[in-house]
């Protein structure tokens, strides 16, 4: 006899084997592990890595001041905060928009590859890294929201105008894809050996 639980509603069953069945409480299919979790999460992470490049290279925001249009990337935005001597906000934006997505991508990739390639990393460490990646996931959205609020408040045609840049779409996709990748990944497979 084996124990198996519904990942959706957490009801525990005692069964003869690990064959899939329908949960009597929530009607979801109960499996020992989430189907193709590693493959799907890895594919999403690779997509996010590719999208991270245009997100960093292309402008996040277009500021028009007295008819002069200035485009700024995420890094240039951080530099402008430093020029205004807003060091705290520069750190917040740099952490949320550059460091956090990078940590998420590297962390997820490291966990996924460690399941196929022998990397000297304990399962507990992998678990801690994953929990951290999951917890910081949504905080990268700060830059997208800042651009949206700025664009909403500063609308004076050619005198003073702020618009979103083309990197906004790629960056939003990076955040969403990494969040789905982390959410879809079944950490229990780390311990299945």
């Amino acid at each position: 006899m084996v124990l198996i639980s519904c990942k959706n509603c957490h009801k525990v069953y005692e069964k003869e084997n690990y064959d899939t069945f329908v949960c009597t409480r929530c009607n979801h299919t109960v499996r020992k592990r989430v189907k193709d979790s590693l493959q799907v999460s890895l594919a999403l992470t690779i997509c996010a890595i590719l999208l991270y490049i245009p997100a960093m290279l292309y402008p996040m925001m277009e500021i028009t001041k007295l008819g002069v249009k200035i485009e700024s990337t995420i890094i240039e935005g951080v530099i402008s905060f430093l020029e205004y001597e807003s060091y705290f906000i520069a750190i917040v934006v740099f952490t949320a928009s550059v460091i956090i997505p990078l940590i998420k991508l590297i962390g997820l990739l490291m966990i996924f590859t460690s399941l196929k390639i022998n990397i000297r990393m304990s399962n507990r460490t992998k678990n801690i890294v994953f929990k951290f990646v999951e917890a910081i996931g949504k905080w990268s959205m700060i830059d997208i929201y800042v651009v949206a609020i700025l664009a909403s408040v500063v609308q004076l045609d050619e005198i003073f105008n702020i618009k979103g840049g083309i990197a906004a779409t790629s960056f939003a996709l990076v955040v969403i894809l990494t969040m789905i990748a982390a959410h879809r990944f079944d950490t229990r497979i780390i311990w299945d050996e």
Binding site: H10, C26, H28, V146, I149, S152, I159, R188
Partner: protein, 197 residues
Amino acid sequence: METNNIVECYSCGLFLRKADDKSTLISKCPRCNSKVLSEKEHSFDSLFYAISSLLLFALLNIYPLISLSINNTQLNATLIGTVGILFEQNFFFVALIVFFTIILAPILNSLIIILSFIQIHTNIRIFTETLLHDSFHFFKHWGFVEVFVISIIVTYIKLIGMVSSTKFDIGFYVMLGYIFCFYMSNTKFEGKNVFGE
């Protein structure tokens, strides 16, 4: 074997026996040290907080979050305005994400909590228990209102460097109250209660 007093650690897959069926304490998995989910007490506070958060949400849409004045022209940002401007500037995908994460998901999250209480305590049955349970967890996961509040503060600091008349408006303070009620309604709600077991 009695399986009601067994829980699975969803981080490592280890099955653990609950020390006490009625225990609400968070226990830690001996193998991976992760928190093992335990059932919370069913609390009506969650319903009251959900209703309050919906009312505050309606209120914060009336007032601007940030306002400033340039050459006697009053400019301000509202919650709906932030989504609307992205649509106007043809950022449809980003606009949809922003709309979903700061408006739709939080509203539906509160509505699901209210509907769950209605279904549990009356004979009215609008949605299936599974739909309510899944929707609650889905909208809870994809609602980013707290990130949006930090973004308002970052925007304020960015704008004050360019325009000194920038100030937080009533909407921002209402939003702080909304965040509190929203957070409390989620903390005090146990998704599994919708199954009535």
